[in-house]
């Protein structure tokens, strides 16, 4: 009989419910409990999902046997919940951003390494067919040695004063970064590597905490450089978020978004001709036991279960989560001080 990952999920908001439904649909998982500090949400979710429900992690951990915790609570509670769980030897999947604070994030990562548990952070765009395929192509050498990584993330979420961006800023939802920006930044680092220096310009259009518009140029450790252009106060991006990467190597370039990969190669590479190629997401095989709401989520959860059940290194790890948190701080710091920053990056261990 297939071994299952016994999991509890903390946070029964929109994302937690999606995680729970997917866990019910994937045979690697056995959903044991749901946790939400709001009693009515916990009870409703527990009854609908046919599992026990608790109002705190401590209560769930003392009453139920489970191997892993999925944290889908607001990011401000990630540190406390994550630390509690790894200290008790639980494997932990945590939504993005990992902590929204690099000092907390690196502590979470190092504690998890010390305790020997598997941890993953919810940067699920890595599992989206186009971005996953692009990574395979780059790793395989399709565009040669990577030299440039550009990122654009545009959203129309805070476009009017009444959107009250300040209310859902750093404290509540990590501003634009929490809305989508960190997904883009994780992809940027995934391709570019660790940042060594950057210079940012940032603008608060309607927000009072974090920036609404962020532009920066960055040098990565392995010699790649790139531009980043982020914002949730651009107008007209109403039907789908705009998140795209532009990658240039010594043998070709590619632009990647959720819909497609457009590639130009200087010479033929495997099945791709010299010149232009176009790969739509709908043409990239993506099969899963249970698909729900977004492409990428099921594969992300399958990857976490496989890591734990087969003792494989997960990806993206909490260290990747730390890197994104650190990058956000560096972008904001550079924008505030109008200066070039060389962010100090902690080593993994």
């Amino acid at each position: 009989m297939q071994k299952k990952l016994r999991v509890a999920i903390a946070g029964m908001g929109e994302m937690g419910m999606v995680r729970a439904v997917i866990a019910k649909g994937l045979s690697q998982y056995e959903l044991v409990s749901v946790i939400d500090a709001r009693g009515t949400f916990a009870r409703l979710a527990g009854k609908q999902l046919g599992v026990s429900h608790y109002t705190s992690y401590a209560k769930a951990a003392s009453s139920e046997e489970f191997d892993a915790l999925m944290i889908s609570t607001p990011f401000t509670s990630h540190y406390e919940l994550g630390m509690d769980a790894v200290r008790q030897g639980k494997h932990v999947f945590c939504e993005k951003p990992l902590a929204g604070d690099s000092r907390k994030a690196i502590e979470m990562h190092r504690t998890s390494v010390k305790k020997g548990v598997m941890t993953q952070v919810g940067y699920n765009w890595r599992f989206h067919p186009t971005f996953s395929k692009a990574r395979q192509l780059v790793d395989g050498g399709a565009i040669g040695q990577l030299k440039y990584a550009g990122l654009k993330v545009y959203k129309s979420e805070v476009t009017r004063p009444e959107d009250r961006a300040d209310k859902k800023n750093r404290e509540e939802r990590f501003g634009f970064y929490g809305a989508l920006g960190v997904h883009g930044l994780d992809l940027w680092l995934w391709f570019g590597g660790r940042p060594s220096s950057l210079s940012a310009q940032t603008t608060r259009v309607f927000s009072s905490g974090l920036s609404d518009l962020i532009s920066a140029v960055c040098r990565f450790e392995k010699g790649v450089h790139g531009l980043v252009d982020l914002g949730w106060s651009h107008h007209g991006f109403v039907d789908k978020d705009e998140l795209s990467l532009f990658l240039t190597g010594t043998a070709g370039s590619m632009s990647v978004n959720a819909d497609r990969i457009e590639m130009y190669l200087e010479k033929e590479w495997n099945e791709f001709p010299c010149g232009d190629s176009l790969i739509y997401a709908s043409e990239i095989p993506y099969h899963t036991e249970f698909w729900f709401t977004h492409r990428g989520l099921s594969h992300e959860m399958e990857a976490f279960a496989c890591s734990v059940l087969q003792n494989k290194k997960p990806s993206p790890t909490w260290y990747d989560g730390y890197l994104v948190d650190r990058l956000v701080e560096a972008l904001e710091e550079s924008g505030r001080s109008n200066s070039v920053i060389s962010p100090v990056i902690e080593e993994s261990e």
Binding site: E14, V21, K24, G25, R38, G39, T40, F41, R43, L44, G46, K47, Q48, L49, G50, E157, D163, K168, V238, D239, K240, E242, N257, D259, R260, Y280, A281, S282, E283, P285, H287, T288, E289, F290, W291, F292, T293
Partner: protein, 296 residues
């Protein structure tokens, strides 16, 4: 109730495209008034199409009413319920469409009925209220079939919500329409329906030669289709998000997958010509076939 062999879908009318943001923007510009939606519907009807899908969106509803006035009972309307964000907005009493998503979520979070469902653990009163509003919203089109949205079907099936499915069925039957389901997880859905002992006479699911959105696998979806002899299948995503030609997609859906009906979203009059002419070529006499579906 008659279910036609080939039907017009509505994705382009609400700016859904798998080709990219340029096409989505183009659809948004093109279908910003009832007349432009109606024009594609009317032209499809001139090409012999008698089946029309519709989401509970204001523009589509109004175009459908206009078409109903012209075609009367000779047309078949298949409604998909609910349009989730529209339904939330209507529940909150703030009108129909184009509400800021964040605002809707906020309203949802504070929805008294959700809190009440949390206390009792019983979702049905809330579902009932949503369904009542939504069925009332679409009744002007006189829908012949009402299908439960794929996200809700999949959620209900994977979490064994038999009561929810039966409630939906009952409420649709009360309107005189035939209830059905759409799903993005055909393999799981049909297995669960069997286990729960729930039958729906119509199921809509992706079928295309690329296997796009056919979960868990192409093979399993084809197997499920073969096994479920008492269900009329509507193939959707037939063109694999625009990756295959209408001729290739339709030939696969009807001949390889063996679905009875298909639905295809059309973004222009010329696309309607290409798609439905390909349909006529592949289906020949069968193009005008209509299946008699009975509520079980």
């Amino acid at each position: 109730m008659k279910l036609p062999k080939i039907m017009l879908g509505s994705n382009p009318f609400h700016a859904v495209s798998y080709r990219g943001s340029e096409e989505r923007k183009e659809f948004r510009r093109r279908f910003n008034n009832v007349e432009s939606v109606y024009k594609v519907m009317e032209h499809s009807a001139e090409l012999g199409v008698t089946g029309f899908h519709s989401y509970a969106k204001d523009m589509e509803i109004r175009a459908m009413v206009k078409l109903r006035e012209k075609l009367g009972d000779s047309m078949t309307v298949v409604s998909i319920l609910p349009d989730i964000y529209g339904a939330m907005s209507r529940q909150a009493g703030e009108g129909a469409q184009d509400k800021n998503l964040a605002k809707i979520k906020l309203v949802l979070k504070n929805m008294p009925s959700l809190i009440s469902a949390g206390v009792t653990g019983n979702l049905l009163p809330m579902i009932d209220s949503i369904l009542k509003t939504e069925l009332n919203f679409i009744k002007v089109t006189r829908p012949n079939f009402v299908l439960l949205h794929g996200t809700l079907t999949d959620m209900a099936c994977v979490t064994d919500q038999k009561n929810l499915l039966l409630h939906f069925k009952e409420k649709v039957l009360e309107t005189g329409a035939i209830p059905g389901l759409t799903t993005h997880n055909l393999g799981m859905t049909c297995g669960k329906l069997k286990t729960m002992g729930v039958h729906f006479p119509v199921i809509e699911a992706p079928f295309n030669p690329r296997g796009f959105m056919m979960q868990p696998s192409i093979e399993r979806c084809l197997e499920v289709r073969r096994e479920a002899a008492d269900v009329c299948f509507i193939g959707k995503k037939v063109l694999a998000g625009g990756s295959v030609s209408p001729a290739e997609g339709l030939a696969y859906a009807y001949r390889t997958a063996g679905v009875q009906c298909t639905v295809i979203g059309i973004g222009s009059v010329s696309e309607a010509d290409e798609t439905f002419c390909a349909g006529k070529e592949i289906l020949g006499q069968e193009y005008n076939t209509q299946y008699d579906i009975e509520a079980v």
